[in-house]
């Protein structure tokens, strides 16, 4: 343990905090998917991590499609046009996967009014299948004789390895906060996450659709009697969760630049932790939980060594749940007032 590494120098302290915020923003965006579905259905959407993972691949594929496979290092400004296309593609792909999940893994169970545990099992199964489908994409392409044509996308025989974005985005340092040089990439990630969270929060609070979500979260039967189409609402929540996961995937690829078929798993667990910490079912809680988790984890990594990062995250979760069992901001999506 080395408290000096974190607190000995104020510049270091700031730089760990900033680094944590950047990751926290990504956690928060993924956490949205968990929190919305939980708020409406009281189900842990275990397969949401795979929704995110498909988004990261979509980003890399767009770069391969529009740029080619030779590796290059671009500034953020130069990569921006392709990044925007990638953002749209990732959001679409993730949303499509989320809707597929809803249709095939959840809706039949909701109709049967099955116990929650079963929905979790169904989601775990779907999560395995999706992650493995990505790891076997070369085989599936091979079935149609397309693995040569699509070699850049399916990476034959290496489908399970790390798949990198050919374009590395070189961050430019804009200004310094203490010892931490804030780069344009960091700034974009934090600002984009904040903007999307605020927009979503407003949608849930102010629009007709948002009212439907809140009504269904409060009391599904009463909402149905008042003319809310609950299937639509559930679909909508999955759609929004997918869109946000796609956005998170784009930001993640900007920062990290490579992905894998199992990249979603640990990130998904962390995002769920963030959602629970903030109070699951609570959109603002997801933001707070995400940022807090990112920062605390980075501090923990500084003090105890980076191999203990995940342990710090989980211990923090347990402590918060013990003191405040419903999360930091309380847990109801339905209670959000307009």
């Amino acid at each position: 343990m080395d408290l000096g590494a974190l607190f000995g120098n104020f510049d270091n302290f700031l730089s760990f905090t900033m680094g944590g915020l950047v990751f926290g923003a990504i956690y928060a965006l993924i956490a949205l998917g968990y929190t919305m579905v939980y708020g409406v259905l009281q189900l842990i959407n275990f397969a949401h991590s795979e929704v995110f993972m498909f988004g990261t691949f979509a980003v890399a594929w767009v770069f391969v499609l529009l740029h080619g496979t030779e590796s290059a290092t671009w500034s953020l400004g130069k990569a921006l046009p392709i990044l925007l296309v990638a953002l749209v593609a990732a959001m679409l792909v993730s949303a499509a996967i989320a809707l597929l999940l809803e249709r095939f893994a959840y809706r039949p169970l909701i109709k049967k009014n099955a116990p929650k545990l079963i929905a979790l099992i169904s989601a775990i199964g779907a999560s395995f299948a999706l992650s493995e489908a990505m790891g076997l994409r070369d085989r599936f392409a091979g079935w149609f004789g397309l693995d040569d044509n699509l070699a850049d996308y399916v990476s034959p025989d290496k489908a399970r390895d790390v798949y990198s974005n050919p374009v590395t985005i070189q961050p430019t340092n804009l200004f310094k906060i203490g010892g931490y040089s804030v780069s344009d990439v960091d700034l974009v990630i934090i600002v984009a996450a904040l903007v999307m969270m605020i927009a979503l929060d407003q949608i849930v609070r102010r629009t007709r659709f948002g009212r439907g979500i809140r009504a269904t979260a409060q009391d599904p039967e009463a909402a149905a009697l008042m003319g809310v189409n609950s299937t639509r609402v559930v679909q909508g929540t999955f759609l929004i969760g997918g869109l946000m996961a796609g956005a998170a995937a784009t930001l993640y690829m900007m920062k990290i630049g490579s992905t894998r078929q199992d990249a979603g798993f640990i990130l998904g667990v962390k995002a769920f932790t963030a959602a629970v910490m903030g109070g699951i079912g609570n959109l603002r809680g997801a933001l707070l939980g995400g940022l807090l988790l990112g920062v605390m984890e980075n501090w923990g990594a500084a003090v105890f060594g980076s191999e203990w990062r995940d342990v710090v995250a989980f211990v923090l979760l347990v402590l918060i749940l013990l003191v405040r069992p419903s999360g930091l901001l309380g847990e109801s999506l339905g209670k959000a007032r307009a």
Binding site: S122, L130, L317
Partner: protein
């Protein structure tokens, strides 16, 4: 397809009928049937039935894995099925049991296995109490994520702590003591008490294979079958204890807590105490299975042996089998361990198909393959009431 559907659909009723028919027999017949049934499972890796037997991998070690999973599922069934607590970090207890055994028998001591086994069980049980005492007070859904975190914490700890062998793991874990005329020392006679030949099938014609016989109760690295026998014996003991507990006051308290915690508390059931008890008992059985795993044929464990994925598989085993029914849990555990080994030729695809199968099964048969009788009865009564309310003839 429809025949499969009706078969699976009627699985519960058929099972009930079989159990009823068994219960209607007179005592000597019952004892005979039970003995035959048990013997069949003990002999299974020697009989090597043609369709069941796995190819390319030793059937004995597959059966060991199957029995280990069945034992874990039986333990997890207490936590999930009886007490209704969702534990997503069960692999943590499995790991604690395995590491306790490894540390005591080879790494920091040289205890014999049968001394380390009870200690491992007690240590895991204490771990379960330590984890359960604070977390069982939080709501059910959160318990899932807290236990998930616990499983990860255990794995990261054993990866990073040098005292526990770190990433390299612990190897050369001693096997359980062999029984025979002269099992130890430089002039060891490794042949055990007597030899049991195994069957070799040529198509459907069996023949005895004397060359590759199993030495009775010699725990070596060549043959997995004695380990399987040991584990199966443990499984039977646990099954027996499980039966007693389920039928006792404790079992009823668990059931009441699972169905409605507030109502149970009002009726004077100290729910927290019973939940903690279920958690600790489940943990102990997981630790026991882990202990057997550590000192198994390979005698080697490392942090990669305990991925989070394994927890998911365990939970899947219990739910697929029908949570709350001990036979269902055993069948689920056995299936989850066996199917991937049997269909090794699809090795690359097996996790994919496993995932698909899990989803299809959950959607298609939410109550599991073999749900407890009570669940089925409640369901049929519900259907009847609904029909009455709708005014349809029943």
């Amino acid at each position: 397809m429809t025949t499969v559907r009706t078969f699976v659909g009627n699985l519960g009723e058929n099972w009930d009928r079989t159990v009823d028919r068994y219960n209607a027999q007179s005592k000597p017949v019952k004892i005979l049937l039970t003995t035959l049934f048990t013997l069949f499972f003990f002999a299974l890796p020697l009989l090597r039935p043609p369709v069941l037997t796995t190819e390319g991998i030793d059937f004995g070690s597959v059966m060991f894995r199957v029995a280990a999973f069945a034992l874990v599922a039986l333990g997890l069934n207490i936590v999930i099925g009886y007490a209704g607590l969702l534990d997503l970090g069960y692999v943590g207890f499995y790991a604690v049991g395995a590491y306790t055994t490894a540390v005591l028998t080879v790494y920091h001591g040289s205890w014999p296995f049968f001394l380390a086994l009870p200690v491992a069980i007690v240590v895991t049980m204490i771990t379960g109490v330590i984890l359960g005492a604070p977390t069982l007070r939080v709501r059910g859904d959160y318990l899932a994520i807290v236990t998930l975190g616990f499983g990860e914490i255990i794995r990261i700890c054993v990866t990073n702590i040098e005292w526990l062998g770190a990433a390299a793991g612990i190897k050369d874990i001693p096997h359980p003591n062999s029984i025979g005329p002269n099992p130890e020392g430089p002039f060891a006679d490794k042949r055990g008490l007597f030899d049991i030949p195994r069957l070799e099938w040529d198509g459907l014609i069996p023949s005895l294979d004397h060359k590759r016989a199993t030495h009775f109760l010699t725990f070596g690295s060549g043959d997995a079958i004695p380990y399987y026998w040991l584990l199966l014996t443990a499984l039977l003991l646990v099954l027996f204890a499980d039966r007693l507990i389920k039928a006792s006051r404790v079992g009823r308290a668990w059931e009441a807590t699972r169905e409605d915690e507030d109502a149970a508390e009002l009726m004077g059931v100290p729910t927290f105490k019973y939940k903690l008890m279920a958690f600790a008992l489940g943990a102990a059985i997981g630790g026991m299975s882990g202990s057997f795993f550590a000192s198994g044929q390979g005698g080697y464990i490392n942090p990669q042996s305990f991925p989070l994925l394994l927890s998911m598989l365990f939970v899947a085993a219990v739910i697929v089998g029908g949570s709350g029914n001990r036979w269902g849990a055993i069948a689920g555990g056995a299936l989850v361990a066996y199917l991937p080994e049997r269909f090794r030729e699809f090795a690359d695809y097996r996790l994919f198909f496993f995932g698909l199968a899990l989803t299809v099964l959950a959607v298609w048969r939410p109550e599991g393959l073999l749900p407890p009788r009570r669940t089925r009865r409640a369901k049929s009564v519900e259907a009847k009431i609904e029909a009455l309310e709708e005014g349809e003839p029943v």
